[in-house]
Each structure stands twice: as structure tokens, then as C-alpha cells.
Symmetry: C2
Subunit: 390 residues, 2 copies
């Protein structure tokens, strides 16, 4: 009998990204300017590095509490109360996860039932779609319109609701769009969620990177929302701790019991070293974080100024996060073909907008994670490519 | 409308351990001797700590390859070929995971279909059972008998096979039993797996801790087995890197595509810092590892000698790993009641055998992870408790 390992159908259906074509196009080419990476070139704040060094002195790396060190959850609860205005009991409403990615998966797998529909305003971070599929649910993409500043149209969202709609998932500030949804839109989303008894999953990994004046509103803080909202955050972006894989999820205590059980099954406990870094992150002197904040803000503004001057290219002004999502439809190419041509003919790596769903067609995602020199070089190459295209 | 977040039925069914009663019993008691912990008291080898310190100098913690650093997979492939006799292509047959726990989950979720039956020789590590439930599969416990040295009876296993049996999961060397299954038994298991077209998942996290003379056989190396076997390993035990959460899974390339996709959804990438430690682990001078090996071996032998002399207590001689599984039925108590009494009346923490399934009733799991002083104290208290019992 031949071996035939049949894959579970939901897992078999997880869509694979087209990124392979980008990687292939890069192969063997040198001195490419990288406007694609989500991996900032900066080191962690000194304070965090110092605490990690001290932790290494002991040489111990032991299992911790399954759901995160109690002192980390307690300190995080204080920070959430102060800066996010979220009230969360450290014992019952917070779990420390191996990054937002793990958090999203364990919550989606715990609360989504086979056949449930999940509303995803789109273009969107691919993981929301993949996780919905991996849970046997049906992602329903609701288009965000550039002309509306990539802010959701509440009527359009409402029309997408059916009797099977169970959850709404979004990212604020947005990866890949760079926009921050204002309070009144979040009020509207909250009303919609309550009216249709939806669970809300909000990825706030870029919470600390809001460049517009207004402070960001966490939807969990709106009336009636704490009991139906899971808020995801982490230290990967704010403290350049991407590689340490440490984040958290906050949610209502009763469903969090199931989330905790699944988290234990998958993770056992979060990394002890990463938790030391997270504790340090919460104590990190503000001025060290402001350096990071201002650097990203300036990079985003610089890249936006440059892109907006390219003839025929439009770009919603980014208000948060690390990304821009310019409309490149004037080139008359699919996003993936344009991205490949940019690598091959201009030496610039970008991501096709379609990496973030079909509504990204005609767009590119640009990131400011590379060094300033690379960003400036990439911008100059983009502009030259556009000049020569006409 | 009131909020009702219904939990997905499989996730709702994940069984919760009774460990709460143990934790409660310990509460407020001081100077307990800990024979329960799976958290060794030893620090990582100096070589690993040095490499981690050097890694901290840069202050960078960046995302890596989703499936692990290519140089780590390449080096691991060499080690597997040399010491485990497993041939594994680093590109298609190895994924670096956040510990064995993540590996077990992603493989089980990828290959188990709802209603599939999973054979688990038992007493067993609880996660195998929990993951089967979390995947909507049905764990089928097949008892291991102390009189048979906790080595599986192949006829008994064969009788448990039905048309819905899909996989066999076991741990070798065993947690919690401390035994190492010999080559002839693994041959028998391989024959059974091939005859019934079963997938085999083997947890070899204690691979480096075999105290018997014969080298351990990885079932994946037996004829016809590589194509149906997933082998799990890690650095948590061999290099005291429990808290770094880093391990690996090796499996056949085609199903590994789905495993990789799910791993990406959950993990994005393994910790960069933990991967630096794993690379160091693979280059670690043998003499540093031998210190760890000999320490555990001596502790296991010491604890076994002591336990075996307690009147009316029998204990299969441990041949690998960190644990002993003595038969405590002479006390006439359930395992959990005995464990609680041992805490309250003797000041010794142990785990009830029923933490490892119902066939653990009448047994305790003792571990050698605490310091020698604690082990000796714990042993003395156990003996005194037994003396006073009569």
C-alpha cells in the first residue's frame, strides 16, 4: 500500500502567497533598494538590550507561566489602562503570545466555527484571510476605496453582513494601507458589531506609530465592545523586537479560557528571554522610544512626499505604521508584473498590492523599514522608472 | 442582544489538567522538595550562553526565514544524518518550530481529519491527547503495562486499530515513564504502521538522554517509515534551552508543505535569538554536553535506587529522560489524593500519574529537574511518609 498522507481540507486550502515570483526576480541581483521589507533595519532600544544582556548573565532559560510571567501581565495591564484606555484583568483577560501572529490564530481557531463568515475590510494583512481559511471559515472581503481614504464605508460593510457573519477583523493603524481609522468610524463599526452580534478582532501592532494629531481609539474601549473584542498588540514594531516573537491578546475572560487552553497546546509558554525583553520594553525610557517614533515618522513623510510627486501616481497620506499604498495603475500592468519589472529594470523591491488581497490590484505596498539611504535611492529609481515609462 | 461568544466545539473539548489541585496544595507552604518540575535547575552550556551574549551585542532581533534560518536547517540536517541516522532535506523536510509543542500541533492539525482515531500508548504526555481533541480527532489510549516494562504489547495495539485509525503518537525516551523502547519493538510498530497505513508521530525531545547501552533507534530510519513519520526534537532538554522555545520537525516533503503553511500562519517565524542559541547548540563542545548528560544520569539513578527501596513501591528502571514512574498503589489512594497528601503531610511535590491519562492511576511521576539537595530531601521525605503510613 502506498503512503498517502491526506491533508486536512481547511489546512490544504490555506492560500500561498505569490511572493515567490518576487524572490525569484531578486535572485542574483545586487544593490537592490528594498522598499518591501517589514523588517526594520534598526536595533532594539539600548534599555531593552541592556536588560537582555543582564538576563544572559545567568544562563538560565526556563519555562515560565503558560500565559506569560505574572509581573509582565500586571505591568502590561497598567500600560493598557494608561495608554490604550483598555481595562484588562491580568489573570483572566490577558495572554502573552509568541507575537500577534500566534494570538490571531488561537483566537480565530477558538471562536470561529466551520462555515462562519468573517468580514475583512481589504486590502488587508494576509494572515487574517489565511487564518479564517485554516479554521474552516469563509473570509468575506469588503473593499476599502482609495477615494474614501481607505476608511470603511459602513453601508457597504453592513450590506456584506449575513446570518452567518460572525466576526470582523481589521488592523488599525493599517498594514498595508498606512491609514488610521478615526473615532467616528470606530463608533460606526462598534454599532454594526453590536447590532449583528459580531466578534471584533483588532490588530493594533502599530498602535505606537500614529503620526496624525488625534490619539488612536481602541475599539475595545467603546461602550458594549469589551465583551466582544479581542485586541492584539506586541513589541515587534514599537521596540524593534520582531525576531523575539512576543505579543499579547486581550479579550473577555470567559472565551479567553478556551484561548488559553489552545495557546497552551501550541506554545506551552512564551519565550522567557522574550518576556524579559517585553518587561524591559514596558519600562523603557520614553526618549529612547521617541527616537524610533520620529525616525519612522520622518521616513514615512519623506517617502510619501517623493511618491506623491511621481506623475500619474496617487497615494493616500499615511497617518500611522510603516507603509504606503500608492496607486500605480497608470503603468497599465498587474501589480505583480509591475513589481517584477521594478526589480528587473529599476532595481527596486516593492510588494504587489495583491499580496493584500484582490482589491490591492493596481497598487504597490512600499515600506520604510530599510535604511534612509536605501529609501532615497529606491525613491529616485522609482521616479526614474516612471519618467522613462511615458 | 447579549454577547455570546460560542467556542468552537473541538477547542471547547480540550481537557484541562487537574494540576490546579497540586498548585493549590502548594500554596503558602515553604521549603517543599520539588519532584514534579519539568524545568531543570541547570543553566545553558557556557558555549551557548557566549553565543547568545555575542548576539545581544548587535541589539538586532529581526524576522528570519519562516521555516528557520537556512544555516540552522543545514546544520541540523547534518546532525540528524550523523547522530540520528535520519536523512532530511533541509529545504523541504525540516521546519524549525517554537518548541516541540508547536511542531506537534501543526502536524496534527495538518494531517488529522475530524473523526480520525489516534493511537496513544499510555500513560502519555498530555499534549498528544489534547491536540487530538483540538483537531476534532479521537484519541484512543492503549495501555502500557508496568509488568511489561511499559513497552507496548503489539497485539494489544493491533486490536485497537479500526478503519478510522489514522495515526500513532508516542514519546521515546518516554515522558512520563522514563523507558526507552528497543529496536525490536520499533520494528514491530513500523510493521503495524505500514500494514494499516498509519502516520507515525514520534516525540524524541529526550533523544540525547539515553542511559542504557544500546543507542536509540529513530523509527523514521526503519524501512518504509520515512514517508509516514514525523520526528520531533528540540534543544530544550539537551541544552537547557526550555525557555527559548526552539525545536524542529522532520517529515516527508509533500505533507510538509501544508505543515509549513500552518506554521507560518501561527508563528510567522521562529525566534531569531532562539535560533542563534540552536546554532550554538549544534556546535557546542561535547564535554559541555556530557556534564549535563552525566548529571541527569546520576540523578535518575540516585532517585531510582532510593524509590526502589521504599517498601511496597515498585518502579521500572529508567533508561532515558528525566522521569520515574513508580507504582504507589500500596497507599490505597488515588494518585491525585496521594500527591496532595504528599505535599501537605510530607512536603514533597510530585505529579499524579493521572496527569498522563487514566492508566496512570496508582502511579506518581517523579522528576529529577530540581537540585540534588532537593532530590535527596524529597526522597528522604517520601521514605519517611511511607514508613509512617504502615
Amino acid at each position: 500500500m502506498s503512503v498517502c498522507i491526506r491533508i486536512q481540507p481547511d489546512i490544504l486550502n490555506i492560500p500561498i502567497s505569490e511572493r515567490e515570483r518576487i524572490i525569484t526576480a531578486c535572485h542574483g541581483r545586487e544593490r537592490l533598494a528594498d522598499l518591501a521589507s517589514g523588517n526594520p533595519d534598526m536595533a532594539m532600544p539600548d534599555f531593552v538590550v541592556e536588560q537582555l544582556r543582564a538576563c544572559m548573565e545567568s544562563g538560565y532559560a526556563r519555562y515560565t507561566d503558560y500565559y506569560g510571567l505574572p509581573e509582565l501581565r500586571a505591568k502590561l495591564s497598567q500600560q493598557l489602562k494608561g495608554e490604550w484606555r483598555i481595562t484588562a484583568d491580568p489573570e483572566t483577560e490577558i495572554v502573552i503570545t509568541s507575537g500577534v501572529q500566534e494570538g490571531l490564530y488561537v483566537v480565530m481557531r477558538a471562536v470561529l466555527h466551520s462555515g462562519d463568515q468573517v468580514l475583512i475590510p481589504s486590502p488587508h494583512y494576509g494572515n487574517y484571510y489565511q487564518n479564517a481559511i485554516a479554521c474552516g471559515a469563509k473570509p468575506v472581503l469588503v473593499p476599502l476605496d482609495e477615494k474614501e481614504g481607505f476608511v470603511p464605508d459602513l453601508d457597504r460593510l453592513e450590506k456584506a453582513v449575513t446570518s452567518r457573519t460572525r466576526a470582523l477583523v481589521f488592523c488599525n493603524p493599517s498594514n498595508p494601507l498606512g491609514v488610521v481609522w478615526p473615532r467616528e468610524i470606530l463608533d460606526g463599526l462598534a454599532t454594526l458589531a453590536i447590532r449583528h452580534n459580531l466578534i471584533v478582532l483588532v490588530d493594533e501592532i502599530y498602535h505606537d506609530f500614529v503620526y496624525s494629531v488625534q490619539p488612536i481609539t481602541s475599539i475595545a474601549t467603546l461602550p458594549g465592545m469589551a465583551e466582544r473584542t479581542f485586541t492584539f498588540g506586541g513589541f515587534s514594531k514599537s521596540h524593534l523586537m520582531m525576531g523575539l516573537r512576543i505579543g499579547f491578546v486581550v479579550g473577555p475572560s470567559e472565551p479567553m479560557i478556551a484561548v488559553k487552553n489552545l495557546h497552551y497546546c501550541i506554545t506551552l509558554c512564551p519565550s522567557s528571554v522574550a518576556q524579559v525583553a517585553a518587561l524591559a520594553a514596558l519600562d523603557c525610557p520614553k526618549e529612547q522610544l521617541e527616537l524610533v517614533f520620529h525616525e519612522f515618522r520622518q521616513r514615512v513623510e519623506m517617502l510619501h512626499r517623493g511618491v506623491a510627486t511621481i506623475d500619474g501616481v496617487s497615494c493616500v497620506k499615511p497617518e500611522g505604521g510603516f507603509y504606503l499604498f500608492p496607486n500605480m495603475s497608470r503603468f497599465g500592468l498587474s501589480s505583480i508584473d509591475l513589481a517584477v519589472q521594478l526589480i528587473e529594470r529599476a532595481g527596486v523591491i516593492t510588494l504587489p498590492g495583491t499580496e493584500f488581497g484582490p482589491y490591492g490590484e493596481g497598487y504597490l505596498r512600499l515600506s520604510v523599514c530599510a535604511t534612509r539611504e536605501q529609501l532615497e535611492e529606491g525613491l529616485a529609481r522609482l521616479a526614474e522608472f516612471a519618467d522613462n515609462w511615458a
